[in-house]
């Protein structure tokens, strides 16, 4: 009895332990029958799936799996039954809340006394996270592998002894002549050497534990240098991160770059030669302040410097523009058209001498720089100027010659015509006593024409002298000259009634004048007398002092009671000189002479009506002469 009691007690103890194990084991447990219907599950199972026990017992385990896993279960159940155990079978389950998880299932079949299937006992573990990490890792590996194989630069992994462990396809391509590479020394494969290279970034990296870099030759078969490589070496550390176990070499082919650099260097040398030896001045200057940044010797010489260094040191362009606005003008021109060609600039040299330059330049605004070429065109400009001056002088001379030719042809012809006609009429009337009075008139006409001719010759001579520029300006008493001119005119008009009165307001200062002032006054007085149809020719001369623009002048007015001058002709009447259309000019150059004379003494002359608003009542010639 005691034995039975002990057995029962042991059995109870066992059940208790079993129950504890069953209830509290962390791994989900299930048992199912031959038809995979769930007989029992533990709490861990229920917690995992999210069901209550009643919802689960009697249901097929396959119902808790995704379709693919259910098919796997169905396909493997027979094997399980036959073999009796299964291990690490992967299923994808669906929890009550719809979330999918991955599990690994272990199982053992319990058989009855007869060896028949009784039930299957299974535990499983959730490997969802592990699967996720494995997938991630796999993706990562794939990615890195893709990068490793597809990168167009070379990657080489060496161990501590410089043996090649791994290379990417590019390295295999570059060193196909040294295949196979793995397991060989890097210096054997890459340089066909028996010992490490003198300059080896990988050795340096192994020694120092730091990345290293250098440019190394790329060699083909027989050590022939076929290019250049940028070689970066990085120490490869073990998993603990503490010890160097090798190096990773990252290699970039810079052969093309080196070629380009070499070409550039050669170009630089070539262009440096041209720059330094060019016969035109070449320069770079700063846009912001005009400072010269670089130039050749020829440019320096343009500005009177011995060397380019002196110019770069001492010459500030903005201070040497003769016309300061030209700097902005040229900058605007370059900005507008991207460049200028043949832009002419006047600047001064080091010693202040002006120099004309022809500039061709372009701007690099983002670099604050102008680059250009300059040549000295001073001689050409001087020649152009001289030519222009010559042209002007020639034109003036031509116009002058043309003017005098016309004067001769027209005015003298008219004078001769009148004399000739008068003489012919005198001859005609020789025998006709009735016309004897008229003969006297003809004689008068002849006399007048002769005087006209003489006056014309005299005026031409004076005009010519004035134009030569040889006249003496001196201080003169204007009243005396007026009186002398009146005396002359009175003597000319002895056969007509003529009265000339002079009025002066106060003491009159001396004026700037000269020997020709009397001719000006005479011409005006004669004009007033000749163009006068009144029975009594009257001329009033008024002399006063006036102020104009704070300057003192002597004002002389010659008023007459002649036929007057219409407004439209008041200006033109002074201008019978070198203009092309002389058809409304009439004859004589007397009034032109007046203007030329007065202007030469820095005076002014113009015409008004004697009576305001009525030109028919006579003219008023007004002269202003500067006080001397």
């Amino acid at each position: 009895m005691k034995k039975n009691y002990d057995k029962e007690r042991d059995l109870r103890e066992l059940k208790k332990r079993y129950k504890l194990f069953y209830e509290y084991a962390p791994l989900p447990y299930q048992s199912f029958d031959e038809n995979v219907k769930i007989i029992d599950v533990n709490q861990a199972w229920l917690d995992f799936f999210g069901y209550d026990k009643e919802e689960v017992i009697g249901r097929c385990f396959g119902e808790f799996l995704v379709l693919k896993s259910r098919e796997l279960l169905n396909s493997r159940i027979l094997y399980f039954k036959n073999v009796g155990t299964i291990q690490d079978i992967e299923y994808e389950i669906i929890k009550k809340d719809g979330i999918h998880r991955i599990i690994w299932l272990d199982g053992r079949i319990e058989y009855d006394k007869n060896g028949n299937f009784k039930q299957a006992h299974c535990f499983f573990k959730d490997i969802t996270e592990r699967k996720r990490i494995e997938n991630q890792l796999r993706s990562s590996e794939t990615f890195l592998s893709n990068v490793f194989t597809s990168i167009q630069d070379g990657i080489s992994v060496l161990d501590k002894d410089l043996n090649i462990i791994q290379v990417n396809p590019i390295m295999e391509l570059w060193y196909s002549h040294s295949m196979p590479m793995l397991g060989k020394k890097c210096y054997e494969v890459y340089h066909e050497r028996n010992e490490p290279c003198e300059i080896c970034p990988s050795l340096q990296s192994l020694r120092t534990g730091q990345p290293a870099y250098d440019v190394v030759p790329k060699r083909g078969p027989k050590q022939k240098i076929i290019g250049w490589l940028d070689l970066y070496s990085f120490p490869l550390l073990d998993e603990e991160g503490g010890h160097i176990i090798g190096v990773i070499e990252y290699v970039r082919d810079i052969s093309e770059r080196k070629k380009a650099e070499q070409k550039l260097k050669e170009s630089e040398i070539k262009y440096k030669y041209f720059f330094e030896n060019a016969q035109v001045g070449l320069y770079w200057s700063r846009i912001s302040d005009g400072k010269f940044l670089e130039c050749n010797e020829q440019f320096a010489k343009l500005f009177g410097y011995e060397t380019r260094e002196e110019l770069l040191e001492g010459y500030i362009a903005t201070e040497h523009y003769v016309y300061p606005n030209q700097r902005n003008e040229i900058l605007d021109a370059i900005r507008k058209n991207k460049e200028v060609r043949g832009y002419e600039l006047l600047v001064t040299k080091r010693d202040g001498t002006p120099i004309w330059l022809s500039i061709s330049a372009r701007m690099f605004e983002n670099e604050n720089r102008i680059e250009g070429a300059a040549i000295d065109i001073t001689k050409r400009k001087k020649a152009e100027y001289n030519l222009k001056e010559s042209e002007i002088r020639y034109k003036k001379a031509y116009d002058k010659a043309d003017f005098y030719k016309d004067l001769l042809a027209h005015d003298v012809s008219n004078i001769f015509n009148n004399i000739n006609a008068s003489i012919q009429l005198i001859e005609l009337w020789k025998e006709d006593s009735e016309m004897s009075n008229n003969k006297g008139d003809m004689v008068e006409i002849i006399k007048q024409q002769l005087e006209r001719g003489a006056s014309l010759v005299s005026n031409v001579r004076k005009l010519s002298e004035l134009e030569e520029g040889d006249r003496l300006v001196k201080s003169v008493e204007v009243i005396n000259i007026i009186n002398d001119s009146i005396e002359f005119v009175l003597s000319r008009f002895q056969n007509r009634e003529i009265e000339i009165k002079v009025e002066k307001t106060n003491e009159i200062s001396k004026v700037k004048g000269g020997d020709l002032l009397i001719d000006a006054f005479e011409n005006i007085l004669l004009n007033g007398a000749i163009h006068n149809e009144s029975d009594m020719i009257r001329i009033w001369v008024k002399v006063s002092e006036v102020y104009k623009n704070d300057e003192k002048f002597v004002n002389i007015e010659f008023k007459d009671n002649g036929i007057g001058i219409i407004d439209g002709r008041k200006k033109a009447i002074f201008e019978r000189t070198y203009k092309k259309d002389r058809s409304t000019g009439g004859m004589g150059i007397g009034l032109s002479l007046v203007k030329t004379i007065i202007n030469s003494y820095e005076g002014q002359v113009w015409i008004d009506n004697r009576v305001m608003g009525d030109h028919t009542k006579g003219s008023n010639f007004i002269i202003l002469l500067k006080q001397s």
Partner: protein, 97 residues
């Protein structure tokens, strides 16, 4: 030399005004060219606008005006200095035409 009465104008403009205002138009006009205010060509044009058949003898020391004056309607051109016989001849010829 002939039984002619002669009237004078002091310049081209005066000549045109006198022509317009005169009830009896002249048989012949002797026109100078270079005159103040209005020259001979312009005066001739104004007069010919009034009567295209007016006889105008252009007399000028400006010989370059010969062709131009004839093309503008002058009956004849007389270059200064001229002889009286030439003038009388042209006047008579113009009147007869």
């Amino acid at each position: 030399m002939g039984d002619y009465s002669v009237e004078f104008s002091i310049n081209g403009k005066d000549a045109v005004e006198n022509y317009k205002n005169h009830s009896e138009k002249p048989n012949v006009i002797i026109m100078d060219h270079r005159m103040p205010i209005m020259n001979g060509i312009d005066a001739m044009n104004e007069i010919l606008k009034i009567d295209r058949d007016t006889k105008i003898i252009f007399a000028s020391a400006d010989t370059m005006m010969k062709e131009h004056s004839i093309s503008m309607g002058a009956t004849a051109f007389l270059s200064k200095p001229f002889k009286l016989e030439e003038l009388i001849y042209l006047i008579n010829k113009a009147i007869k035409e």
